[in-house]
């Protein structure tokens, strides 16, 4: 009963979400025993391996360093996981776009089901996961020999970094004749990453246009917050879609979530209703967002936002 965790990394750094996936793996190990191995796949990932080795609870870091794993395309990564999976009872990854892309491919190749977006470990074979945009929580038991799981990282507290696990190379080189990387356009931001931020301030359709999103900048600066958006704001072209919070965007659970000009549709609430404190600023006092907000302020955001920036 050992667990393989697919480490996630971007731009030469280990993603913060990996420490939360290891936390979920530790909960499984607590009930069933076994070791936790981390798989780090990519190109020139040596420096990241050192970061990964520090994560508490990790027995060893297995590194597959080859050009075929650059950009972490699903086809070669799934083949690599298939080659390693027989040594493990569970394979875990974050339910990020990488985890969601790769793990179902692995699951099907191993002829097992997958549990997506797990938010609670009941036992080594039973897990809780949200369905219907988080409006119901299903407890699901898997009888498959291999449990393939993506983890909702906001539901698990990241492990510490006081470890020094051994690092070893994995020689497996997948052969990928199916897909090639062409290019990417990554949004440049100095702000904290949306998924891991302690404070998030989000704008919705009420912002009116993309320029008005700058009204959030000063507040975000003062609070060290990430800036998010509702689907309506993204669809209207106000901001880029990687800022979308909700059922089909990012799931966040910060200490403080400030929703500005957001009505609070089911799909948006799915992405933020586990935040510790929710503040809603909206001129419609009937807006559904007020039903989940700890503190609501009814009024015109164009007056309130500058005042709030002043008051902080």
């Amino acid at each position: 009963m050992s667990i393989l965790v697919l480490a996630e990394h971007h731009d030469g750094h280990l993603a913060g979400s990996t420490a939360s996936v290891v936390a979920a793996a530790r909960q499984i190990v607590d009930s069933s025993g076994g070791d936790i191995d981390l798989l780090l796949a990519g190109e020139d990932v040596g420096a990241i391996a050192e970061q990964a080795a520090r994560l508490d609870g990790v027995a060893r870091v297995r590194v597959a360093d080859h050009a075929v794993y650059a950009h972490q395309l699903a086809e070669p990564l799934a083949d690599l996981l298939v080659a390693l999976a027989d040594d493990y009872s569970h394979v875990l990854a974050s339910s990020s776009t990488i985890g969601k892309n790769v793990l179902p491919r692995l699951a099907a190749l191993k002829d097992v089901a997958q549990l997506s977006d797990v938010l609670d470990v009941v036992s080594a074979d039973t897990f809780k996961r949200p369905i219907y945009a988080g409006n119901a929580i299903a407890t699901v038991q898997s009888s498959d020999a291999l449990k393939v799981i993506t983890v909702r990282t906001t539901a698990f507290d990241a492990v510490g970094e006081n470890n020094s696990a051994p690092v070893e190379a994995v020689a497996t080189v997948a052969d990928n004749a199916l897909s090639t990387f062409v290019g990417e356009e990554l949004a440049q931001s100095e702000r904290p990453e949306l998924g891991g931020a302690q404070v998030v301030i989000s704008g919705g359709r009420g912002m009116g246009n993309g320029e008005n999103f700058q009204l959030l900048d000063g507040i975000a600066d003062k609070l060290g917050a990430a800036i998010g958006a509702s689907r309506a704001a993204v669809d209207a072209g106000f901001v880029s879609n990687d800022m979308q919070v909700g059922q089909t965007g990012k799931i966040v659970a910060p200490e403080l979530y400030i929703a500005v000009g957001i009505s609070g549709a089911i799909q948006h609430l799915a992405g933020m209703k586990d935040s510790k404190v929710i503040v809603a600023i909206n001129k419609d006092d009937e807006a559904p967002i007020f039903q989940v907000a700890d503190y609501g302020l009814v009024g015109d955001l164009f007056q309130i936002l500058p005042e709030l920036e002043q008051a902080l």
Partner: protein
């Protein structure tokens, strides 16, 4: 080329669902059903490829109960040429759905298969990837742009940090994200015409696939309810409460 597009019948996305009192499942009696929104986007993309002259035929397929015929007729009204219904009243998990679709892909041999990235009922985000694995085809998930270029498919994908473009060797599998397109509405004359388009029914038995799953749903509970909070009268009061009551500033 032939395009296969998979659709799913789900609860309408505007419905506020209720969990059954015995916690066995979500209550679906007398609830409005519809085509999964991501599947609408998949159908739209397939039809646009046909309108561009890239696709010669669009085949819609669904796995589900008898009533799911409605969603196939919707796909036909939107522009699909014919439909295949893999009919089963049993609940079908992602892996079984992918196996059934893989059989259909094997029979139909489409160059391109388009699915939604996730169904809004189970929120799994698995079937397209599993289908790609089972058919040995490359996958372009969470697509916001698709371009056919000879025997290559260029797919722009929505990833966590922005956009990524990949080139896939056809035949391939694509799953749609929200911003791939704006689905059209079916017009009344097209809805009437769709009634005459061919719709083929198969069963999992005929396809030689078991719909058994390694997953068992033990319970379904409503999520923890948030306590409704208070409305404050001013920005100063809000900041004061966040500092002194909630202690998050």
């Amino acid at each position: 080329m032939k395009v296969l597009v998979a659709v799913k019948r789900v609860i309408d996305y505007n419905v506020k669902i209720r969990v059954k009192p015995d916690h066995s499942d979500v209550d679906l009696t007398n609830v409005k059903m519809a085509m999964n929104p991501f599947c609408e986007i998949a159908v739209e993309e397939a039809v646009r490829l046909k309108e561009k002259g890239v696709a010669s035929e669009v085949v819609a397929v669904t796995v589900g109960p008898k009533a799911a015929q409605e969603q196939l007729r919707t796909a036909l009204a939107l522009g699909a040429d014919r439909a295949i219904h893999v009919q089963t009243e049993a609940p079908v998990e992602s892996l079984a759905a992918a196996k059934l679709l893989a059989k259909v892909v094997g029979e139909e041999q489409p160059q391109l298969t388009i699915l939604g990235k996730q169904a809004i009922d189970s929120d799994n985000n698995q079937v397209g990837q599993m289908l790609a694995a089972l058919t040995g085809r490359p996958q372009g998930t969470f697509a916001s742009e698709v371009e056919v270029d000879g025997d290559t498919l260029k797919v722009t994908r929505e990833i966590d940090g922005g956009l990524q473009t990949v080139a896939l060797k056809l035949p391939a599998i694509v799953t749609t994200d929200l911003r791939l397109n704006e689905p059209r509405y079916a017009k009344l004359p097209d809805i009437m015409k769709a009634k005459k388009k061919p719709l083929d029914t198969k069963t999992p038995d005929e396809l030689g696939v078991s719909v058994d799953s390694g997953l068992k749903r033990v319970a379904v509970e409503p999520p923890a309810e948030r306590q409704g909070g208070v409305k404050v009268g001013s920005v100063d009061e809000l900041v004061d409460k966040l500092k002194n009551e909630a202690k998050v500033l």
